[in-house]
Symmetry: none
Subunit: 211 residues, 4 copies
DNA sequence: GATGAATGAGGCTTCATTCAT
DNA sequence: GATGAATGAAGCCTCATTCAT
């Protein structure tokens, strides 16, 4: 009888428990004791699977990054396979699905505030930053003149992060629906403006898949 | 001979030391011991003047809020006393002066990540949020149709916070100058678009002073 | 192989160490550090088993109360099973056995002086007070007229506590043997006087068992 | 103009404040800071007048001893100048006047629990012990046969201390009036019994005044 | 594979004392 | 005579990690 490999299960349990505790108690209050209690496992298990608390935290952030990427892929299927459609999917992914949960938002914020003091977290933060930016540039290129590309991409990225931050902090005073609406409004307008200035701009969509 | 009132001086010293330590060691690493060492004072002094670590942290964030408001007032004098001028001053204040210092940016980020777990910090965060929003609305009203007011104000606020966040996290990959430029570009465009839609719109500036 | 349940052992060790330190250093000098050193365990262990210093102190006083009760039961077997015999056992229990040890006496005194400032300790003190009083009343009832019951019980209780206090404070100037002798002399006389006044008084021993 | 000597005033203020704080906060909670606040004076004053906290505590206990002696003298004038009258005055002094105040009772108890760990306080405790005992013996000698003297004196002393202790701890469950009544009842009976045994015993009252 | 008892370093806070004014 | 700002040692408690089972 093949014994089930419990490692993935345990890792998942611990990461899930970490997110719960981060939401409930903040970074300072996230102790091994609380995580093990929330997961129903023992205190020793964290070192066993993640080498220590730091490893578990890093794995948790990596998990969030993966979920974000998964969300993007899922939402892409719900939009037309065009630059505009994919841009909408980016916005949706950042404000929907798992990202909506307050527990996720709080964890992101906490990790970002820690990034400056942890090379591991900083690396993951850079991955997120680059991925969003290159994703935006890739999809804006077909519809914008080259000179407007970088600025617009940066602006959209800031808009997404800014709304996300305000949503996470405002405890409901700013809703996700509104954030999505305003982000998309800006994107539509930027593309319209770009089209006016460069109506005949033709870009060949490259085959590369944005990360 | 009147004894010098050292209290304001000591409080200032401790807040300054707190900002230094927050930058250098993060929230977790900000201990009373390090703060007292950085300030050249003793460990007992923090409780003496702030009642404890929590009180010092709150006072530090309040200090940052005050500096931001001071920056806004300073920059307002450098711009024409018009809605557009004041909007530019808001942008400048958020990306210039004291706010530019990495030590300030890091402290903001840390405080925000803690806000969810400290009513004191959450209150200060709400003050910031409301102040920025009402400031924007107040100055946009003369130049935008009523229906576009809220959305534009929210978008600008998100843009400011988003660029600020990316600037704080990117360690130089995104510059303040660029952030200011792109924020102002969006504001200019929003006002242009508003003017097109409602060219004869006349708003009477109310006497109220933005907070 | 079942792992030994070390909890009762550890609790016992710590309580014993607490009594030692209380005797040697007084209430003020009873620190976690000294207790852990005396017990041969680590400093963290106290919070682990008792939730903190206060919990350990309370458990220590409860331990003394239990020992006193145990002493009473032991001494009861050495006396005839009559009211007089049980009254003698009460006296013996308060001045013999574990209570004799200076470390126990000092701890009682310390706890009593703290009772006014700790609801936990005050509760335990009330238990002691009531137990002694009701025990005396229960055993005096068969041999005293009703009107003399309460006064005699209070007087015996005061005598016991008074001798105990003087013994604890006098560092040997007053001996336990003398205290027992004088307490018993008073009890004998009180019973004689009661018998004179109410020679034919017959009381049915109630079924209630003295606490 | 003769400047008033403020020293006795200051010492008095600080002792009074110490008693207040001891009652309100217990021995542990009696800090220089609280004492100075209660007295309206500065923190430095304690070292100035008493050399330190320990000196103030010792002076406070000495003050209580003096008050007790004063009470005895006062009550003696209210009773006939006979052995019985003086014995009644001893009882009254221990359960009336200043001693009645909960603040005084608490302070006594605290000091006694500290006596084992402070030679200064232990000395004062011995003075109290001896004074009460010799006072009792002196006044019992004219009315008791020699062989009953020591035992009766010890018993009365224990009764006084026991009732005092129970009164101090019981928070009103045992009243001073009852304590006085029962003490006097024992004394009366002891004298009666002594008289029966030795009806013609005549003692000449010595001129010595009990301390 | 997993446990959880135990450790002990380190944090925050309290507080008696000192000393310049 | 008196102040009270400042110190810094020491206490209690938390918690990541280890290791015998």
């Amino acid at each position: 009888m093949p014994r089930l490999n419990v490692e993935p299960l345990r890792r998942r349990q611990l990461i899930e428990a970490t997110l719960q505790v981060l939401e409930a108690h903040g970074f300072q209050g996230t102790t091994i004791g609380r995580i093990s209690k929330a997961s129903g496992l023992s205190t020793g298990i964290v070192s066993h699977y993640f080498g220590g608390k730091q490893g578990l935290l890093e794995a948790t952030m990596r998990h969030l990054l993966n979920e974000l990427r998964g969300d993007f892929r899922r939402f892409r299927r719900q939009h037309p396979d065009s630059p505009q459609g994919r841009l909408q999917a980016i916005v949706d992914a950042n404000f929907s699905g798992v990202q909506t949960q307050s527990k996720t938002a709080r964890a992101w914020l906490i990790f970002w505030s820690q990034a400056a003091h942890s090379e591991d977290l900083a690396r993951l933060q850079r991955i997120y930053e680059r991925r969003l930016y290159s994703n935006l540039v890739y999809n804006l290129r077909p519809v914008l003149p080259a000179h407007a590309l970088a600025g617009t991409a940066h602006t959209i990225a800031a808009l997404i992060d800014g709304f996300w931050l305000r949503t996470a902090l405002s405890e409901g005073r700013i809703g996700h629906a509104r954030a999505i609406e305003l982000c998309k409004a800006y994107i539509d307008q930027a593309i319209r403006d770009g089209a006016e200035q460069a109506p005949d701009d033709t870009h060949s969509a490259r085959s590369g898949v944005p990360r």
